[in-house]
C-alpha cells in the first residue's frame, strides 16, 4: 500500500531529539575537536538515557519494538544535530545481528546493548565490502585469530567488537571483548574523531565467542545494507541542516541593496537542494521499509548511489551560496561537509553498487 504517513511514534522520535539536542551542536567545541584539542561528543549518552538504544529491541526484551523506518527517522534527526557515537554499530551490527541469529540465546547481550551496559563497535560492513575476513585457526580446540582490521571507530567507548571470521571456509560471527586487542595504528578523521586499525596475531579466544551463522551471506549483506542506509539517513539529516543554515543566511544577507535570497539564480539552487533531499530521503526510507523483501539489496544500493551523488552536491552548492563566509573554519559549514564526505567514503563506491544492480554477464 502506498503510504507516506509520518506516524505518531515517528513524530515522537523527532520531537524527543529536537528537545534534547537543539542546543548541543556547539560549533566552537566541534571545531576544537576537529583541530585535535578536545574529544567533544554528544548524543550517545543522551540517547541511551531516552531508551533509544533499544528502539529495535523487542518489547519482550524491554525494548521499544520499533521498525527500521522509525530507525531511519531517528538517524535523520541524529545527523541533523551532528551527534556522534556508536549508535549504528550498536543497533545494526549488535542488536539486529544478534536478534537475527538467535534472540533467545543472546537475550542478555541484547538487553545490555539496549541500555548501553555494553557497547559494540564493528567491522562487519567493511569486511563485507572488502571480502577480507579474519582467519580462525583451530589448534586442538584452541582458537586463534589472525588478520588485520582497519578504520574502526568508537574503539575507546566500545566494550566489544563484532567481526567476521573464516573457519574451515565458513563465515562466523565473532563477538570479541575489546581487552587485549592491540591497536596497530591510531588516526584522526576529517572532523577529529579517533579511528583505529587493529592487528590480531595468534589472538587466543574462547570457543563460545564464535557464532555459527545460518545463511551467513544473507545476514552479512543485510548488516552491510542496513549500515549503509543508516549512514545515508544520517547524511540526509546533515543536509537538512545545511539547507536550514543556507536559507537562514540567504534570508538575512544583503547585497546589491536587497536580500540575496531574492535572486532567482540563488533561489533555483535552493530548490535543487530541496529536491535532492526529498528524493533521496524517500528512496532511503523506502529501502528500509523493504528490509524483508527480495528487492532490499537493490534498493539499498540505489539509496547509496543517490546519496553519494546528490548529497555531496548539496554541500558544494551550499558553500557556493554562502560565499566566503562558508569557506571559513569558524562558521562551521565545513563540519557538515566533511561528515558528508566521510559517510560517502564508507560502504562501497559506484562501481561496487552498480555491479550489484547489473552483474556482469547475466
Amino acid at each position: 500500500m502506498i503510504d507516506f504517513t509520518i506516524t505518531e511514534t515517528q513524530k515522537m522520535i523527532i520531537e524527543s531529539l529536537e528537545n534534547n539536542f537543539s542546543k548541543k551542536t556547539d560549533i566552537r567545541l566541534l571545531n576544537e575537536k576537529a583541530e585535535g584539542d578536545n574529544e567533544y561528543k554528544y548524543g550517545y549518552e543522551e540517547v541511551s538515557k531516552l531508551g533509544f538504544l533499544g528502539m529495535i529491541t523487542s518489547e519482550e526484551l524491554d525494548g521499544f519494538g520499533l521498525d527500521f523506518v522509525d530507525f531511519s527517522i531517528f538517524m535523520e534527526k541524529w545527523g541533523s544535530f551532528l551527534c556522534n557515537g556508536p549508535i549504528i554499530n550498536n543497533i545494526v551490527s549488535g542488536i539486529f545481528a544478534l536478534q537475527s541469529i538467535d534472540e533467545k540465546r543472546f537475550s542478555k547481550l541484547i538487553k545490555d546493548l539496549s541500555i548501553s551496559k555494553r557497547i559494540i563497535t564493528s567491522s562487519i560492513a567493511q569486511q563485507y565490502e572488502s571480502k577480507e575476513f579474519i582467519k580462525i585457526i583451530n589448534k586442538d580446540q584452541s582458537f586463534f585469530l589472525n588478520g588485520s582490521i582497519t578504520n574502526i571507530e568508537f574503539f575507546d567507548e566500545a566494550t566489544d567488537i563484532t567481526i567476521i571470521g573464516m573457519l574451515d571456509n565458513q563465515l562466523k560471527l565473532l563477538i570479541l571483548p575489546k581487552k587485549n586487542i592491540s591497536i596497530s595504528q591510531e588516526k584522526k578523521s576529517l572532523i577529529g574523531d579517533k579511528i583505529v586499525d587493529l592487528e590480531l596475531s595468534d589472538h587466543l579466544i574462547e570457543k563460545d565467542l564464535i557464532v555459527d551463522l545460518n545463511n551467513s551471506e544473507k545476514l552479512i549483506e543485510q548488516i552491510f545494507n542496513l549500515t549503509n542506509l543508516a549512514l545515508c539517513s544520517e547524511s540526509i539529516g546533515i543536509c537538512q541542516s545545511i539547507l536550514d543554515k543556507t536559507l537562514d543566511y540567504l534570508i538575512n544577507r544583503d547585497a546589491f541593496g536587497k536580500k540575496i535570497g531574492t535572486f532567482q539564480s540563488i533561489q533555483h539552487k535552493c530548490a535543487e537542494i530541496y529536491i535532492y533531499i526529498n528524493e533521496v530521503r524517500e528512496l532511503i526510507r523506502n529501502a528500509f521499509k523493504n528490509i524483508n523483501n527480495e528487492d532490499f539489496s537493490r534498493l539499498a544500493s540505489m539509496s547509496k548511489i543517490k546519496s553519494d551523488l546528490e548529497l555531496d552536491k548539496i554541500t558544494w552548492i551550499s558553500h557556493q551560496l554562502h560565499g566566503a563566509i562558508g569557506f571559513t573554519w569558524d562558521y562551521g559549514l565545513h563540519l557538515y561537509t566533511k561528515k558528508i564526505l566521510i559517510n560517502k567514503s564508507l560502504g562501497g563506491d559506484l562501481n561496487f553498487h552498480s555491479t550489484k544492480l547489473y552483474p556482469d554477464g547475466n
Binding site: 500500500m1 502506498i2 534570508i251 540505489m302
Partner: protein, 384 residues
C-alpha cells in the same frame, strides 16, 4: 508498495493492452494518426466497460471507489506500454478538479462522460503571449446576466489533442479591466460549439499533437463555470497540481531504461564500467523520481493544502526521462539518427523520436524553472 490485489489488476490491465497493441509496438501514441486514434478509442472503451478509466472515483460517477494505487498503476502501465487511450486531461486534470469544486450538474454530466470513454478533453490555458506567466492571459469572456451566458473571444495555443477533443477546460478573463490572477474563470467548453477553430502546429518530432485554438464569439452557459465566476485562479492552479505528478514520464522513462539495459546485455556493453555505472545512476534516479511521483499523488489524496511534492516530482520525472533517453541516444549513436530506413532499428528510431518529443516535458504544465520558483518561494519561504 503495491498489494497483491494491485498486482493482479496490473496483470489484467496488461492483458487488456496485449489484446489491442501489436506485438512489436514501438511507437509513442500519436493521436493525430487515425490508426492511433481508433486504437485509443478501442482501449478506452474496454477500460470503460470494466470501470477502469478512473478506478478511484465514486461509483456514481463511473469509478470503483478503489484505493488510488490502482490509478497510479493504470497511468504508469499505459505509459510504459506506450498505449493510446490514457486520458490524462479528463481523468487526471479536470476530473479531480470537478470532484473537488464542481456542481452536481457538472459532476454528473462530465465525470460520467469521462468514465464511459465518451469524451476527450483538452486544456485551454496557454496563449500566444501567456505561457509560463499564466496570470497574464487575455482571452476574454463577456458575461451576460439576462441569458446567463459567457461569450468567449481569444486564442489559446499549445493545446494538446485539441484536434481530437470534444471538450476543453479553458481559463478566461471574465471580469473586464481585471489584471493578473483576479477576474479569471475556469469554464467547460464543448469543442463542437460554433466559433471554435483548431489549427494544428507541427512540433519538433514532426507530429502535430498540439494546436492553436481560435475562439470567436463562442457562447457557453454560465452553469459551465467551475467554482465562482471571476474566482477561477486558485482552482486553475490546483488543477495544475493534478497535472504535475509526472507519472507518465516515469512509465516512459522506465520502458526506455529497461530496453536500454536489455540492449547493453545483448551487445556485451554491460562489462564496460562507465556504461554499467551510468545505467545504475539512471535506475536510481528513476526509482527516486518514481517514489516522489507516488508521494505527490498520495499527498493530493490526503489534503487540499498546496504542497511542493507535485513540483518536485514534475522536475524529477521529466529530467530523469530525458536523461535516460539522452544516454540511450549516446549509446545508439548514429543508429538513432536514421528514420524509416529499410532495416530500421525500431528501438533506435523510438529513442530519437521520443527524445525530441520529450523536450516538451520540461516546458508544459509549468516549466522546470517555474517549478523551482514555486519550491523556493512557496516551499522554502525565500523572498520574492
Amino acid at each position: 508498495m503495491f498489494s497483491s490485489e494491485d498486482l493482479s489488476f496490473k496483470k489484467e490491465l496488461n492483458s487488456l493492452i496485449d489484446k489491442h497493441l501489436p506485438e512489436d509496438w514501438q511507437e509513442y501514441p500519436d493521436e493525430r494518426l487515425d490508426s492511433h486514434w481508433e486504437l485509443s478509442k478501442k482501449i478506452k472503451s474496454e477500460l470503460a466497460n470494466k470501470n477502469w478509466i478512473a478506478p478511484s472515483w465514486p461509483k456514481e460517477y463511473g469509478g470503483l471507489e478503489e484505493d488510488f494505487s490502482k490509478s497510479i498503476i493504470l497511468s504508469e502501465t499505459m505509459a510504459y506500454r506506450m498505449a493510446p487511450g490514457n486520458d490524462r486531461f479528463g481523468v487526471r486534470m479536470i476530473g479531480p478538479t470537478l470532484l473537488k469544486y464542481g456542481t452536481e450538474f457538472q459532476k454528473k454530466k462530465f465525470l460520467n462522460e469521462i468514465t464511459t470513454g465518451k469524451s476527450q478533453w483538452c486544456q485551454g490555458y496557454s496563449e500566444p503571449n501567456s505561457g509560463s506567466d499564466l496570470a497574464s492571459i487575455s482571452t476574454k469572456g463577456e458575461y451576460e446576466e439576462d441569458s446567463n451566458t459567457i461569450t468567449i473571444n481569444g486564442t489559446k495555443v499549445w493545446t494538446t489533442l485539441a484536434h481530437r477533443a470534444n471538450r476543453m477546460f479553458i481559463l478566461v478573463r471574465t471580469q473586464p479591466d481585471s489584471t493578473r490572477h483576479k477576474g479569471l474563470s475556469l469554464i467547460l467548453l464543448d469543442m463542437n460549439d460554433p466559433g471554435i477553430k483548431v489549427n494544428p502546429i507541427k512540433n519538433i518530432s514532426g507530429k502535430s499533437s498540439f494546436n492553436e485554438v481560435v475562439l470567436k464569439n463562442v457562447k457557453v452557459s454560465a452553469e459551465n463555470v467551475v467554482g465562482k465566476l471571476h474566482e477561477g485562479w486558485m482552482i486553475a492552479l490546483d488543477l495544475l497540481n493534478f497535472e504535475r505528478s509526472g507519472i507518465d514520464y516515469i512509465g516512459w522513462g522506465e520502458r526506455c531504461l529497461d530496453d536500454l539495459v536489455d540492449y547493453c546485455y545483448r551487445n556485451d556493453l554491460i562489462k564496460e564500467n562507465h556504461i554499467k555505472n551510468k545505467l545504475a545512476l539512471l535506475r536510481s534516479d528513476l526509482e527516486s523520481a518514481k517514489l516522489m511521483t507516488y508521494k505527490a499523488l498520495w499527498i493530493k489524496e490526503q489534503s487540499d493544502e498546496i504542497h511542493m511534492e507535485p513540483s518536485i516530482s514534475k522536475v524529477l520525472a521529466t529530467e530523469t526521462n530525458i536523461n535516460i533517453h539522452d544516454f540511450a541516444f549516446d549509446l545508439l549513436n548514429t543508429k538513432a539518427t536514421f528514420l524509416n530506413t529499410k532495416n530500421k532499428d525500431s528501438f533506435a528510431e523510438r529513442v530519437i523520436k521520443n527524445r525530441l518529443f520529450f523536450v516538451s516535458g520540461g516546458i508544459l504544465g509549468g516549466t522546470t524553472e517555474i517549478q523551482k520558483n514555486i519550491i523556493a518561494q512557496r516551499g522554502l519561504g525565500l523572498p520574492r
